[in-house]
Amino acid sequence: MQKNAIFQSKLLPFALVAPQLAIVLIFFYWPAAQAVVQSFLLQDAFGLSTSFVWFENYLDLLQDAEYFATIGRTFFFSFAIALSSLSLALLLAVMADKPLRGGTLYRTLLIWPYAVAPPVVGVLWIFMLHPSLGVLARYLRAMGVDWNPLLDGNQAALLIILAAAWKQISYNFLFFLAGLQSIPKSVIEAAAIDGARPMRRFWTVIFPLLSPTIFFLIVVNIVYAFFDTFGIIDTMTRGGPGTSTVTLVYKVYTEGLIGGNLGSSAAQSVILMVIVIVLTAIQFRFVERKVTY
């Protein structure tokens, strides 16, 4: 953590950390502390007086069926996005790991969606599957599907999941490929000499060796689904129809926009904070980050 060869100075090191420290304290810790304090307060209807109410805001949330539904929905979205994106990315990475002609070209053509912003992803997908003008929606209807994500909540949820998973393919692909390339060829050859067929080699040798990467990516994908889908949801469905695509972050955003219950909004933020802390802790505690490139 510390070098043996160091400089002697009393003021300079403070001057060097000052800019970062100032930003962190003003824009990170102060607001976070505000949220925590707010979450224990209750304002009257006119905003004239506030009183300290302990955990009342939290208890209200926990008794709110709608809030529970939102938690469930957010987790469902996360798992659906992680599962679909990870499996497709793994398949592509296994294929791209083979010595193929044009290997680098394939890689380039698969990784660029990483750079597409979530709101743009939303716009691209709603255009493609828009009930009245979407090109793919046309085919769906021709096949007899009653496609209207603007009215049907399940279809809207499906749309969000597909779009969010689409964006994440490239990220997962890149890390899977890196993981696959770090597996020593000798291990795979040894299995081949023992007579293991390719499918068997994959499930008994490669897949277990890849598990640190998989676990790491699951955590990253859940964090992504919790937070970065905001832009996708906001351009595609705005949480609708009804509340069928409202996630935890989206709920905090929209309720704050309308104004009103500051305490509840703060309590929701604090719950999100706890979720991030848990996810980050899992990532640091249990994930072996052995990805090499």
């Binding site: 950390v17 709101p119 493609m128």
Partner: protein
Amino acid sequence: MVEQEGIRRYVAHLVLWIGIAIVAFPVYLAIIASTQDNAVIANGQMSLLPGGHFLQTYYQTIFIGTSGSTREPVGTMLLNSLVMALLIAVGKIAISIISAFAIVYFRFPFRMTIFWVIFITLMLPVEVRIYPTYKVTSDLHLLDSYAGLALPLIASATATLLFRQFFMTVPDELLEASRIDGAGPLRFFWDTLLPLSRTNMAALFVILFILGWNQYLWPLLITTRDDMQTIQIGIRKMITTTDALTEWPIVMATAVLAMLPPVFVVVVMQKLFTRGLVETEK
């Protein structure tokens, strides 16, 4: 056996091309739509081949904007996005590299406390402190300004960690050598450490530029004036009006323009990009 290997290779090519098609199709559609006539698209009669409105649509998008929903030409939005992305990327690198320098090369009170204070910000993304951060920014009169867009985002635990790790691997002999030459800490930082960090800075810059360019929630909150909008916010406003009024070719041209800079960076600086991505996740 050899024949089977051939089939397998064929399957691999096929699967990869299907993957590429899935990944590329929505974007292909956007590019095609940006060259067609709005009336045709609105009727759901869009063709899958390029139309003849390319120049006209992009000219209107960049210099005039939509006629209804947003009052700003997309050119202004592109400029705002560029300024914000550069401020965020350069700002994060600058303040992180000097903090890491202080933490690694000096011994001072609260050194480790400060390190942890920076580190813990990893767990405080803007999404969990939306409105209190908005309040602070508004109290500081930073709404609708470039400083307001960038400042609250330029702290970076990852960049600080990355530079700290890198500085730990720099041999002590270099410092001793520069000390013999009579160089003080700032001289050593400028003449020795910075040049050595060039690749790390470049890799980080690529990732942070994309991150900054793609910011959405924060600019959405703090920009109210049309001329301060970033392109990501502008595109959202273009589809707020009722569907019948949405000018899809312009929306799609804006989407293409919004994608172009970050995608260009990924494709052209692929080595640095992958390096940066893997490094920042360590």
